[in-house]
Symmetry: C3
Subunit: 441 residues, 3 copies
């Protein structure tokens, strides 16, 4: 089956529900940039997208960084003056500041307060905080709960370890006809937060599962990594592979009900940028488009000046622009099976463009070929019939070896897919010949 037809072959509604189930399974796990939470998560991914799981020891230098200590946590709570647990890790792993050092002490409310974080703007929600590169400890709780704490002695306990260990990441590689790669990267370091980024993990996993075993032109690499240190670590260990990346996307925040957003690669108008915008501009809701900036997630590393990879970011509502972002409200109610399904189908559309975008040379470049005589209409190879010749005429007219189908789509305003089908029909009737794809992204 042609990669371009995959979209029609899948049952996206069912897949949406399955992705939602996967998110439900992953939700309780306490993830951080290292530790067993990542390993458990990758084990779930591996069920559908077979992974090479890498363990990079603490202390390993990776460019300007060093792989940090490994963090694990078993339990944490704060007991109030009356002995009740007023904050309990078992109820939500967001309650503990990520990378908190172990502690087991009794202290006054006054001593405790500098270690408590809440969000007065959303008094019912627990915020998510981390302290990756500055050792310390802390708890997060709803502002509502914070305000109800009474004076007295508190028992504070975090049963965590921060020790030499390793950084864990997973890699699913699907070899294609050529060694040039398409990279999808998603981060696996967030605790019980659904849209950011269990949605990205689920969509990437299912995309890899769908593409696996298909005849692929490009080789595909899916990275399941902790943010920042993960992409830096991968890049440091894979400079050769990085040099083969022709197109790439960071996948995040793909499960909410909002319209799509796209953040351009540093190159600004790479094929991946153009392909994504071609697809997104045909959705019912116009996409929100951001130019590249050195903020955000792993695109900062992929687009660092030494690599400058053509890697954009595909999202629904953009990270940082929905109030639930990095709070307990980014929960299982915030992501929807239908939104996950649409995100997956959108990615298949983008992959279809990457796989099938080519330049052609007309075999009859002087004047138009006589389509009628060649029976294109009658043979059934052109599904749209003689009343819609536009895609055929555009492909023929632009078949000068210079213009790719994506170029033609942008110039004509026609859908890429209709042009791809036109090119297939014209190839079959020996009216055009493949000239190749652009090798540079």
């Amino acid at each position: 089956m042609n990669i371009a037809e995959l979209k029609d072959a899948i049952d996206s509604e069912t897949l949406g529900l399955e992705m939602y189930d996967m998110i439900s399974r992953l939700h309780p796990i306490c993830r951080s940039i290292t530790g067993d939470g990542v390993r458990e998560t990758l084990a779930v991914v591996d069920e559908r997208a077979p992974l090479n799981v890498h363990e990079v020891p603490t202390g390993t230098p990776v460019f300007d960084w060093v792989v940090p200590k490994e963090w694990n946590i078993r339990d944490a709570y704060i007991k109030g003056p009356n002995g009740d647990k007023v904050v309990d890790f078992q109820r939500s792993n967001l309650h503990v500041v990520g990378y908190s050092l172990p502690i087991d002490e009794r202290m006054s409310l006054e001593s405790l307060k500098p270690h408590l974080h809440s969000d007065p703007a959303h008094p019912q929600w627990i915020p998510n905080r981390t302290s990756y590169y500055k050792e310390g400890w802390g708890f997060c709780l709803s502002h509502h709960d914070l305000e109800r704490l009474e004076e007295g002695e508190y028992e504070v306990r975090i049963d965590s370890t921060l020790e030499d260990g390793s950084l864990t990441y997973g890699e699913c590689f699907l070899p294609g006809v050529v060694a040039e790669e398409v990279l999808f990267s998603t981060h696996v370091c967030h605790p019980s937060l659904c849209n950011d980024n269990l949605s990205g993990i689920a969509v990437a996993t299912f995309l890899a599962q769908i593409l696996a075993g298909r005849p692929l032109h490009y080789s595909y690499r899916f990275l399941f990594i902790p943010t920042t240190i993960g992409s830096i670590t991968w890049l440091a260990r894979n400079e050769e592979a990085a040099s083969r990346v022709r197109h790439g996307l960071v996948l995040t925040c793909l499960g909410d009900d909002g319209g799509f957003s796209y953040k351009r690669s540093r190159r600004g108008a790479a094929v991946i940028d153009r392909a994504c915008l071609h697809v997104l501009n045909r959705k019912g809701r116009p996409p929100t488009v951001f130019d590249f900036s050195p903020n955000g997630g792993d695109e900062r590393q992929f687009c660092s000046p030494g690599f400058n990879l053509p890697v954009g970011v595909l999202m629904r509502t953009a990270f940082g622009s929905f109030p639930q972002y990095h709070t307990s409200a980014d929960d299982l109610d915030f992501v929807r099976p239908g939104a996950l399904a649409e995100s997956l189908v959108t990615l298949l559309d983008v992959v279809s463009i990457l796989e099938t975008d080519r330049r052609y040379l007309s075999n009859n470049p002087y004047g138009e070929p006589h389509l009628g005589r060649r029976g294109v209409w009658l043979s059934g190879d052109w599904p749209f019939g003689p009343s819609n010749q536009q895609p055929l005429l555009w492909v023929l007219n632009m078949a000068d070896g210079e213009h790719s189908l994506l170029d033609v789509a942008e110039r004509s305003g026609l859908d890429f897919d209709s042009l791809r089908q036109a090119a297939e029909a014209l190839l079959k009737h020996d009216l055009i010949a493949e000239r190749g794809r652009r090798t540079s992204a």
Copy 2:
């Protein structure tokens, strides 16, 4: 007389009336892509624009096509059950589907109906239909008449021939100083339809007549050809001449009262595109501008990828966008002498730009020359006087050998003609020297 001054030398009002008269003479002739109607039409053109008339035999291969059989028709009618002619070719040649095979039969209304074409949206108008590349026969009639046909036996007769013969086209060539060519192409294959395209035939004929015998920089070639197969045939037989085309226009729909339209060449911003838009943007009504697309008329062939000639389309209301298009309502009332005259003058403006657009080198490029001392103002060579120095200053400032007058017009917002006059005055006073024109279109 300078080509740029021709416009002022002609009596455009009289020419408008004469073009209208020519259209009136050509209107009754039944034209198709081959046959005697084309020959009669070319004979009328030849009275003003001496033509080389070419006859290309049926069966001649022309690129991917083959010259078709020649079609001629003498009479056609449908007699109703009571013996009256309910459809009569003698009243309008639009009644017969172009390229209809001969027929002489009696049949029921039921058998006849599949061969009858009408336009319910415009029940009083006879539509125009052809069946060039699929043999068959048919009649066109107003929907009003169609609905009045009664049950009974009909006598159906088309006295036509579809036999080996030739495809006929005419060519008027005006040699200039250089072998590089300006191409004007107009189609001669439509029956009694005035705006599309007797207007194009008339305007092209008069333009050729006006330019003939004038000192011309470029060589000019006027083609009077049947659509599609005509341009393909010409290109196939004239690859060398085609390679010399530097600027070109397809002329069609130039007689209605609407504002101008322009369809860009495939190149998009060729000199012909820029020259036409410069002229049209100075009309009272802003032009309708279309990007190139592989729809339409002979520009599809001239702009096929193997040729990619800088050929645009000049029209008033664009083909396909007025309701009378390809119906009996595109008649002698629909075209106006004044509109024909304005179209002709507009083309003279475009030709003036093509002929006089040049790059210059200042003889005093360091600082401004002292215009006052040189007596430019006093000598009368600068008709606009010292209070309007703008064209002079712009031409001098841009006289770096890089910028053509058209470049200067676009950058300055000044009218090309004022810049041309400035260049003439400056040349006369030895302030600039000709650097040449761009050789590439």
Copy 3:
């Protein structure tokens, strides 16, 4: 002190008052394109900005021009029939047409009138007229006064000389590290007109005074010249220096209360154009921006095709677009100390960009450097603190040796100055290295 910090080191309010005082001193002097008025003016400039004063003899050929005769005037008046002075040069030097020949005659009002100029649209104002390149004489007066002249015999006297002498201009040169130059040019040929151009003279003088003795990368040249013939003369005598000009501005009309205007260089997007617009677009009032045109002042000469220097024009309300322009209403009330001060500070901002705009290479181009570990935040080298990392991240991401800070400012939307400070902090921490500036403007 870093050139970028100069702005904060000066007391602009005091400088505004001092510039206003300088204008007040210069206001009474009768200047023209030659003569003692220019010499007196340059002597005042020289008090703050030491000048090389050049005297170029009458008759010296300068490109297409010749240095004109020197004009000087001591007195002029018109006495009415009753012996009263109805026009008196001692009350305003605008009363005499610049370059008027001497005259001492009695004549009727009828004979006098062709020599009298007024502006009916502003009946209280004296217009300013000159007759540089056509010998003659005349007076300017308010339309109100003109209309009150009665019939009778008038005594007309102009005590002027128009004789061989010289053209005078001043040059203040501040050598920098490199021989490449920044050019500021201002005209000194207008009589008692404050905004055009005593404001330009004052601002240029103070800018030169502030920059003098500072460590400068570029060499700076300030020209105090008569319009047109002055810039032509300077260019003719300094072709070598002209070839070293990398950035330049004509300074005029910098004292009124209006918002800023900028006229682009002929190149259109030279660094000087981009630097000025970067600064002006951050003012409260959006600037009025003009594309280059061969009208106006000395930019016409600097941007003539043989030089094509990257020289724009910085103004507040543009020349010719305020009604007081070239009239007696362009007086000491029309210019404001605060406006002069703001113009000066704006120029320092532009100079700061020119001086500090550089391209950098990241020393850690692969992934982001670990800013936290390097203590950038803690060391105090980054004044904006860790909550505003944007300038640091942008400079690092664009530190590929291709993008200058101005490029980064335009792409990021950040202020140039914050990027400059980021670059300084990053340099100090050895995170980037200087790659150099663009050598071409």
